[in-house]
Amino acid sequence: MMIKRLLTGSTLLILCVLFTHALSAQNKTITGKITDSKDGSPVVGASVQAKGSKKGTSTGADGSFSLSVAPEVTTLVVTSVGFDKQEIDISGKGSIELALVASNSALNEVVVVGYGTARRRDLTGAVASVKAKDFNQGAIASPDQLLQNKVPGLEITVNSGQPGAATTIKIRGNNSIRATNNPLYVIDGVPLDGRTARPSLNLGTNGLGFGTTPESNPLLYINPNDIAQIDILKDASSAAIYGSRGANGVIVITTKKGASGPTRMDVNTNWGITGYMKKYPVLSTSEYRDALKANSLTKYDSGSSVDPLKEIAQHTITQNYNISLSGGSETGKFRASLLASSTPGLLKKSQLDKYLGSFTGSYKFLDKRLSLDFGLITGHTTENLVNVSNTAGSQGNLVSAALNWNPTVPFRDKNGLYLLASNATANPIALSDAFNDVAKVNNFLGNISASFKLLDNLEYKFLYAINHGAGQRLTNIEGFLVGFQGLSGQGYAVISDAAITSQTFTHTLNFRTNLNKDLSFEALGGYEYWKSDYSNSNLAATGFNTNLDQKTRISIPYTSIIQNAKTQFPAVAFVDPTTELQSYFARVNFNYLDKFLLTGTFRADGSSKFGINNRYGYYPSVGAKWTVSNEDFMKSSTLFSNLALRVSYGATGNQEFPPGSSQEQFAFPSYNTVGQTIVQNTSLKWETTKSINIGVDFSLVKGRLFGSVDYYHKNTKDILFQASAIQPAPNSIYFINLPANLINSGVELGLGLNAIQQADFSWDVGFNIAYNKNLLKNFFDINTGLPIVIPTGQINGQGVSGTLGQVITNGYPVNEFYLKKFQGFDQNKGQIIAADPTPAGDPNPHVLAGLSNTLRYKKLNLTVNAGGAFGYMIYNNTATSVTNINSLSSGRNVDKNAIASGEAISNGAAASTRFLEKGDYVKLRNATISYNVGNTGKYLKNLNVYVSGTNLFVITGFSGFDPEVNIDKNNNNYPSRSIEYIPYPTGRIITFGLNFTL
């Protein structure tokens, strides 16, 4: 019966085709061009239909189309995603030109939700979407930077100025008291692992004092130019479909796909140069001389004048070349892209090189009942890292050496050799020269999916994806440097590697129907299996024969001759237990006359990480929406073109903690030993976040002012917590579910304004602001009922070893500063510091804001994006222990503020509230001026040239390099927040670029 029905359908279709072909002899051909009313740019892929018939086409790369229509057709209907539908009269015309107006309320835009898409007007949850045209411009090293300050409640902090550095991403506040609490990334339906295959490295072991090196960004292999849209699922109604992994929010990345039409090639290129955004305020040479004189320390004046911060910087040209090809027909589309880029960082020798390729295709068979989609992303990245570690003690940080270097001492002697050290400070230029750390990572993300329309309203889809990354890192520190324990006269080398493989299998069934003429229904059911493996190893050695004297250096790195080393540290291998997730999920949507919408989701998630009886967690959510403006009584309203009220409630889970924590394990820790390493807890279960979201979407003044307001309250409980083990025990910690509550609540506002909309001139404004409050409640020990106090936030440097500056404790926000109070100076200008530390402030920003402006005058465009964070404190660890006044008495350079304080130069390094500063800042993230040349000559189309500035300036009272800072100062994997310590400085990047289409 089914087959018969299929056959009937096919026959009809064939008849239709034949029929239209039969009529084609009498047709007339109409050509035209569709442009964007905003800037006259071509609208690619717009659908052009002859009204009253099924005949249609879509526009090509230059916005043009050609369509043959029956003579009786008088009107064409033009639609395109993101634009209002328009009809145009073609009677008596052979060609037309039409400017589409962007749909202001964006109500029709397609939003990617879990395992499907929805129109924005049908959403009941809090989902923010950012499309390619709204992304941050300028220098973008990784996809997350596209979004900075674009979405209310999404906080993205680049942890380091090193190109390719990891970012700290928090959606609606600090949701975890573990180190790993980044959101889940989903790329074209494939959930990622979140870890990177670039090996981590701690250069603070084996007697070396260089500290832990910053992590890299796990999304480096995703080409920012390939991204069409990013959706951020913020509340339970939208994220619960990802169940276990949605608690920290979900970031869904959709890549660009081919459009039907002739093959087009897009070329984007840019070149840029980097400088300091803001320098750290150390004394200039003349100020330093004055300070030496004032303190009778002129013996330290060597008579020269150097600027170390300038010397460690480079201004090498960044280069970006991106080509994409796309094309296809109604039944087969493809897109391919290639990116080659070289991004030298601000500091000498630091560089990120990327070679990325992607190939996606979408093909339809069996009268479009069967769709086959595939995507292939591969990338090779090379990171040249400099030694700017998170936790270096007194030595081994390039920035620290530059800040401390006596500016009267030249870097080289008269023979051109480095003056290797001066007053216990390493020569920053020599340090840069002697340190070589290169990480190469290959990544591969492949996915293939097949959808089959079982019925017109029932579709089955299967997806398989594999993501593999392999990285090798070669680290060489030459032994000619002097004054470094564990290095000088010996040399030090590490070969480390890491591999990560994750696989996804997903099956979904999608069904939609109209239950009656007023009520439609859609349902989704699915099964997913996800598996991930991770391993790493490293081999370190010291005691080489070469490069121990700067006069006789050879170019062979230690890592190529590691067998030459006298001391081979024990090689270390680590293999994570395999993590498996298995999930069943379902979603139903009801829509009553577009007035009332109801979404319910449910997900059952099983994870191998948990105890045998608690492997499954169940995540329900419900969301409802009342579109008030669709009610009859509102139809006459001239004020509101859209007004909708949303409410959602639901649960999401979290299993981001080390695998293996539920099992007793015996490891092979060192030569000839076996020992127990884990305190097993077989009753471990999911951490759950329950959240409520109430929102209003509105669109005023014919859609010229639009936006959303959301209130949320999130309550995380059964917190996966590394508790102090009950001694005697094989480890100092173990994982439990702590029945505490981590509360995040806040309000978000997103606004858009089409301030001016004229033929030659337009001005659009986007503004968002979010307030979040973070609080830890009921944080008591399960055994004793006593409040738990977790000290964390390492304060590093000489003289402050072992100091911790933050606590995670009951009644405070996560990572509350906990410091001794600074009470001023005594009569001898000595610091007075309280005996005991007390709570001292919140490191979590309370208010985040973003503002974007787009101005167009004819073909000239100006885009300005700014953002800021307010209401939080930063601890300046650099001023505490690197540039403190005492350094002057040892002939090192110091902080201007230390001189200005008038304190005694004998004051030692001590951590206190003196170095706690307000973090509030406003940063001009980027400004771009572009000129849309348009088509030139026969082949060159859509030529666009621009100049763009990234990190142009920051307005702040914070005295360090950049108030947007989060150096990882975790203690025993308890995270830290907002501590600055001799960071890689933020670069100001000016790029010049051009885009065109062939």
Binding site: M1, G207, N423, A424, L454, L455, G479, G483, F484, Q485, G486, S488, G489, H507, L509, F511, Y527, Y529, L548, K566, T567, P570, F574, P577, T578, Y584, S608, Q663, E664, Q665, F666, F668, P669, Y671, T673, V674, G675, Q676, V679, S724, A725, I726, Q727, P728, A729, D781, T784, L786, I788, V789, I795, Q798, G799, V800, G802, N884, S889, S906, G908, A909
Partner: protein, 554 residues
Amino acid sequence: MLPLKKISIYAVPFMVLVSACTKLDEKLGNTLTNAQTVNTLGSAGPGLLLNFAYADIAAPFTAQDQVFSLTENVTDESLVPTRGGDWDDNGVWRVLHNHTWNADHGQLLTVFNNLNKLNYDATVVLGFNPSAQQAAEARFLRALACYYLYDLFNQFSVRDPGDNLLNAPKVKTGTEAITYIMTELAAALPNLAAATATSRPTSASQDACRFLLMKCYLNKGAFLNRATPTFDAADMAQVITLGTTIMGNTKYSYTPNYFDNFSVDNGSKSKEAIFAYANTSGVTVNHAPIEGRWNMTLHYNSYGHTGQSIYGNAGWNGFSTISDFYNSFGAVTPTTYNPIDTQIDRRLGGRYYVGSTDISGIRPGFLVGQQYDEKGVARQDRKGNPLSFTPTIASNMIETGTNLEVTGIRVVKYVPDFSDTSGKYYSGPAGNWLMLFRYPDVVLMVAEAKLRSGTDAVGALTLVNGLRTARGAATVATLPLVNTNNVDDPNTLLAERGRELYWESVRRNDLIRFGVFLKPWGLKPTDDPKNLLFPIPNQALSANPNLKQNPGYN
């Protein structure tokens, strides 16, 4: 409306795929489950697990911020003054010497956890069918951990093999605690190997066990009443009996050169090692970071020369001793550089030591006054002032003057490992063995027991004079136990213990047993009775409800 039948047809392959689901049993990466450890390692298992427990000794007993700190920096033997930008470290060192610590002190927690890790890992061995000797060694190691926990915190817990680690174990304190340790040691003793002329002191021997038992008998009255210790005659008799047995073992004698007990080749040269932890120069496998013992005290410029890569990198310029303790060696004028050794008591050091003085100029022992390099050229500090260590330390232990790099007498007990002439081990893994139990302590304990029991004061004097003679010091005619009015009175048995065992992590225990831990001494003007015990670290207290905070810390 809805062709359910059709759906079911199409849903079949879907359901098949769905039902092909996994059990989600976690597969371990490079570790074993308990059962695998039993099955795959077989008879080798207990030995490997025992090795792991032995390796646990390195962490708590070696570095400068572990047991060493809690037993030396709280006494008259050691302190760490803040020197300008160095060694503030949030005041952790000053509060130890000041006796103003609290239960948040980070060193307390790491020591508590590290000792308990040894306690636990030794217990694990017992669950894997060890041989009688392996079981005895594991019980000895566990008793060692418990002894130190008891000494520092007055309470400890022991788990049974296979315990559910999520349950809070019972806590032993008071008589139960000391009885437990002594019963365990007594049970282990017969199954341990006898120490022979060729046996290595790195495994628990019968003598090591006897040594720890002696400590228990000697300190029992002090453990049970730390404010006013009492000494039971039967306990003292036990100390004497056990000590006499050890002294009867011809394996032990006084090492002719005192510093050979602490040198890079002390593993072969020392005749006094009863229990030790082995290191090998340049080998990092299971290495105890012994190099910290000289780094912590030496100045940056203590060895090497301008232009050499090692120069300016010799030490961390921290740990010092107070002049009163230094003077307890018998009012010696500060040593001056002289190739001819003239000092009386060799333990004071200052003598030419081959392997150190010829390479660096460093003369092991107490470093006072001008320091010289190996050629006799005076060394300078980083400011260009003479590197000349002065006895006086600022009263608040915060040095702010121009001499802040040179205040305080330094102590080089472990002789720096200069065995690699290319200089590669100057700061790397050093080969000195860590001395845990040393023969002279046995002699001094026996002498002390004789004095305390009043049975054989003459014998006690003979033993002490025997030791003094071996060290090149003059004999003494009388030997009072302690002068409660002057902790650093040189003419006491306590002072003799200080001279022999300084910076060997016994001082706090000695001062409590001799009843003078709360007395004022250099840079510690006042005290509080609660300080006789350390507080239970807050994190440990909040994990185990059976632990009770020690009096005075709530």
